[in-house]
């Protein structure tokens, strides 16, 4: 079948919990893709990893059919896990939410490399370190 791509989008959603509410409903709905079909399949593929955010990258074709692949968890989630905190300090950055080591940064950068806008590990580490700082997660010396 002559598949021509209409849109590519990644949903950052929790494993096994996809439903037609936002973000899935509006994200797929505005491209005319079958919301329930995606939810069913995503949940089936991710149910064993409940609690983690497992992004799904969807390719939606011109006739509104779609395919999707699962991606690595977001950098923020991996950083929180490494720092042992529930959430970042948030906007104000008045408090430090926790800290990670340079080795953590490298490990997360390696995990995320295939999904980041970076060509090498140094570039990926810079992105991860930047994310950590903006979340109020410190990097130990």
């Amino acid at each position: 079948m002559a598949k021509k791509v209409r849109a590519v989008l990644t949903l950052q959603i929790e494993a096994g919990k996809a439903n037609p509410a936002p973000p899935i409903g509006p994200a797929l709905g505005q491209h005319g893709a079958n919301i329930m079909e995606f939810c069913k399949e995503y949940n089936a593929r991710t149910q064993a990893r409940a609690g983690d955010v497992i992004p799904a990258q969807l390719t939606i074709y011109e006739d509104r059919s779609f395919s999707f692949v699962l991606k690595t968890p977001p950098a923020a989630d991996l950083l929180r896990k490494a720092a042992g905190v529930d959430k970042g300090a948030g906007a104000a950055k008045l408090e430090m939410a926790g800290s990670v080591t340079p080795a953590d940064i490298r490990r997360i950068a390696e995990t995320k490399l295939p999904d980041l806008n970076a060509t090498d590990i140094e570039g990926a580490m810079k992105i991860i370190a930047g994310t950590a700082r903006s979340m109020g997660i410190g990097i130990e010396d």
Binding site: K4, I13, P22, P26, G29, E37, D63, S65, G130
Partner: protein
């Protein structure tokens, strides 16, 4: 009609290197999740897409239009204010805008005597009309693409009761089911993608033609018996690669319906088929997409 809950859609147009950071802030406001849309340049059929490097990525979060949503939205604006390169836009949205709209898109499609109808629509066929039930999903072939419609039209001219048919690149199974509805006694459907192949099997069963349609894996493969008619609707590159095997799978005088390519690729595809002894007997076009109707030698 109930229009459902009111929401506010936030779009953060974000430079590529800040995507992870912005995503973290959006997720804090919208714990249910967010969507990240890459700026892509679609390439030709079956050729995927290219990401437009350096262009902003659209991150989207949806917050309920409630007091709590307002507080979360305010926090989001404050967090992102520290990043002047990120442009935040907002617009109101109702649940109805997405819950119903995508289904409205998939109304019945009719091509000649064939009507393609999703299972959630009650449909009373007109006299002589043939109904193919297909739910849009993870397999290409919903009836909403030019090449699918071109093939459906051509199949109606070529398939006669009792014929053997081949469907190469079956996708959702839409063309195989249509061939069976038109009276084909046996259809062999080839689909390399296992997800699509499974969808095609399910669709054949739902249409009650699973006894006549066999969904198989990759083509080329040995076919059970020479075919009276074959349809290939993949892409110029794939159709050309399959040309020899398709010619070999047809009985002398059998017909080939080839589509999946743009008008600009027509000459190249035709040359490949003619080199395998097929002759052009007709052609169709719709919005820049081409279909070739060919006959096997002998």
């Amino acid at each position: 009609m109930d229009e459902g809950g009111r929401w506010c859609e936030f779009t953060a147009l974000t430079p590529p290197h800040l995507v992870e950071t912005a995503a973290a802030f959006l997720r804090e406001a919208a714990p249910g999740g967010i969507a990240v849309e890459e700026p892509v340049e679609p390439l030709g059929p079956e050729e995927g897409y290219a990401v437009r490097a350096g262009e902003p990525v659209a991150l989207r979060a949806w917050l309920p239009a409630t007091d709590l949503g307002g507080v979360l939205a305010q926090r989001l604006r404050e967090s992102l204010a520290a990043f002047p390169d990120i442009e935040l836009r907002a617009r109101p949205l109702r649940e109805r805008d997405w819950a119903v709209s995508w289904r409205e898109f998939f109304g019945p499609v009719t091509v000649g005597r064939i009507a393609i109808v999703p299972t959630w629509i009650e449909y009373a066929p007109a006299a002589g009309q043939l109904v193919v039930r297909i739910d849009p999903g993870q397999a290409f072939g919903t009836g909403h693409h030019e090449t699918t419609r071109l093939c459906l039209a051509a199949l109606q001219e070529r398939v006669r009761p009792g014929m053997r048919a081949l469907d190469v690149g079956a996708g959702s199974g839409i063309l195989s089911i249509a061939a069976a509805r038109l009276g084909a006694a046996a259809v062999e459907a080839f689909e390399i993608d296992p997800v699509a192949a499974e969808a095609a099997r399910a669709a054949c069963a739902a249409n009650g033609v699973d006894g006549r349609v066999t969904v198989r894996g990759a083509f080329p493969a040995e076919v059970a018996a020479p075919a009276d008619v074959a349809v290939v609707n993949v892409s110029a590159r794939a159709d050309i690669a399959f040309a020899e095997a398709l010619a070999a799978a047809l009985r002398p005088g059998g017909r080939l319906i080839a589509s999946g390519f743009l008008v600009g690729d027509r000459a190249q595809a035709l040359a490949a088929f003619e080199a395998r002894g097929l002759t052009l007997t007709g052609e169709r076009e719709e919005r820049g997409w081409a279909l070739l109707d060919l006959a096997a030698g002998g």
